[in-house]
């Protein structure tokens, strides 16, 4: 019998025509090579398809390091956050949506919302309200959230990534909230995120706009 052919080279189409044909003849008479070929063929097929799809891939060492992950809050705090959302909806704590008839007051602070993603811009004005602070958010060029999505405003403490949901932005990309001063002073940034209407009360991680403020001026 002829010498066993290089089956891996055969599968990879790296043999010359006469070598391929000779390998074919050899396989006709060699059960061991046929068994070998069957074993190699499956793995070759997996590799060839994977290689064709991915092509050259950067080594893992070339990837940027992952940012530190935000630890999920413990169950008790999650419940508290959910309860806050419910209370907000009932209007008893802080989320009073735009359209009430409070007389406008001069803003005590104003800050620009800068784009995190996309090119929308916006402004946040804070003014003293009857109790606490009224925060008014206006935006420009915010693309429509799309079906099943909405924009949500949050207070953020960038140092700890602690977040407090304020409520949704209206269809014109505006919102107004009355917030307890002590709560407001516990944060120093305002974040607007794009959220899926999926019942998940947590931040979606897609921040669109962000502004910082000086907690010291709140309530002054």
């Amino acid at each position: 019998m002829s010498e066993h052919p290089d089956l891996h080279a055969l599968l990879r189409a790296e043999l010359a025509n006469d070598e391929v044909l000779a390998a074919g003849d050899h396989l006709d008479g060699c059960a061991a090579c046929r068994a070998d070929l069957a074993e190699l063929a499956t793995a070759h097929a997996l590799l060839a398809r994977s290689g064709r799809t991915l092509g050259a891939v950067a080594p893992a060492a070339a990837l940027a390091p992952l940012p530190p992950v935000r630890r999920r809050r413990g169950p008790a705090l999650l419940v508290a956050a959910a309860a806050a959302v419910l209370l907000g909806a009932a209007g008893t704590t802080y989320a009073v949506l735009a359209g009430d008839d409070d007389a406008p007051r001069a803003p005590v602070a104003a800050t620009d919302l800068d784009p995190v993603e996309g090119s929308a811009r916006g402004r946040v004005e804070m003014a003293g309200a009857e109790a606490g602070t009224r925060m008014t958010i206006t935006t420009e060029d915010l693309p429509p959230a799309g079906s099943g999505r909405f924009y949500e405003a949050w207070l953020l403490d960038p140092a700890t990534n602690k977040m407090l949901p304020l409520g949704t932005l209206g269809p014109r990309g505006t919102a107004s909230f009355e917030i307890d001063d002590a709560l407001l002073a516990g944060y120093s940034a305002i974040d607007v995120s794009l959220e899926d209407d999926d019942g998940d009360p947590e931040h979606s991680v897609t921040s669109v706009l962000r502004a910082t403020y000086d907690p010291g001026v709140v309530g002054s």
Partner: protein, 181 residues
């Protein structure tokens, strides 16, 4: 390195080290996938994908193939990214490939490719290196021998052994069929 499902199970228990493992095993393939659709933003989208992975880790179902789960999240992130762009700079064909049925199919195809790539990471370094050059970088065995500066026979032996070992890993029998020299 363990299987994707095992990494997923550790992630579901919220082990941070599992997130790093998932990133090092699947990150390169995910980055390749994202580059195709979101171009220069791929690295950012990859980071956001892994933040999502961490956030939703508790929802990973160990019955599901881990790579499919990862690529489903990356696909959603890529679609979000294109949606929020005001001036799309991706080729129209790539964008078309990303949405609807085509988008799900290509995410699945990449997930399958990534699964093989992940299995490759479980091979001994020498074998993995030869298979990467010949299958992912398009080199012949002879070119691989030149690149690695080793005899052609060595490349052939490593390729053959590595291929068999990869088949065994993919079949869930990593210790079978290959004897180290």
């Amino acid at each position: 390195m363990e299987s994707g499902q095992a990494i997923g199970a550790r992630l579901a228990r919220r082990e941070e080290a599992a997130l790093e493992d998932a990133y090092s095993v699947y990150g390169p393939s995910l980055l390749g996938y994202l580059r195709r659709y979101v171009g220069d933003e791929a690295e950012d989208v990859l980071q956001r994908t892994f933040l999502d992975v961490w956030r939703h880790a508790g929802r990973y179902d160990a019955e599901q193939r881990f790579s499919t789960w990862l690529f489903t999240i990356a696909h959603r992130r890529a679609v979000d990214t294109l949606r929020t762009r005001r001036h799309p700079v991706v080729p129209v064909e790539a964008a078309r490939d990303l949405v609807g049925e085509d988008g799900r199919e290509s995410a699945e195809r990449y997930a399958e490719a990534a699964e093989v790539r992940a299995a490759l990471s479980r091979l001994p370094e020498h074998e993995r290196q030869v298979l990467e050059l010949t299958y992912y970088e398009g080199l012949t065995q002879r070119e691989a021998a030149e690149r690695l500066d080793v005899p052609l026979g060595t490349v052939k032996a490593r390729a053959s052994r590595g291929t068999r070992r990869l088949g065994a890993v993919m079949r869930g029998r990593p210790d079978e069929g290959v004897t180290d020299e």
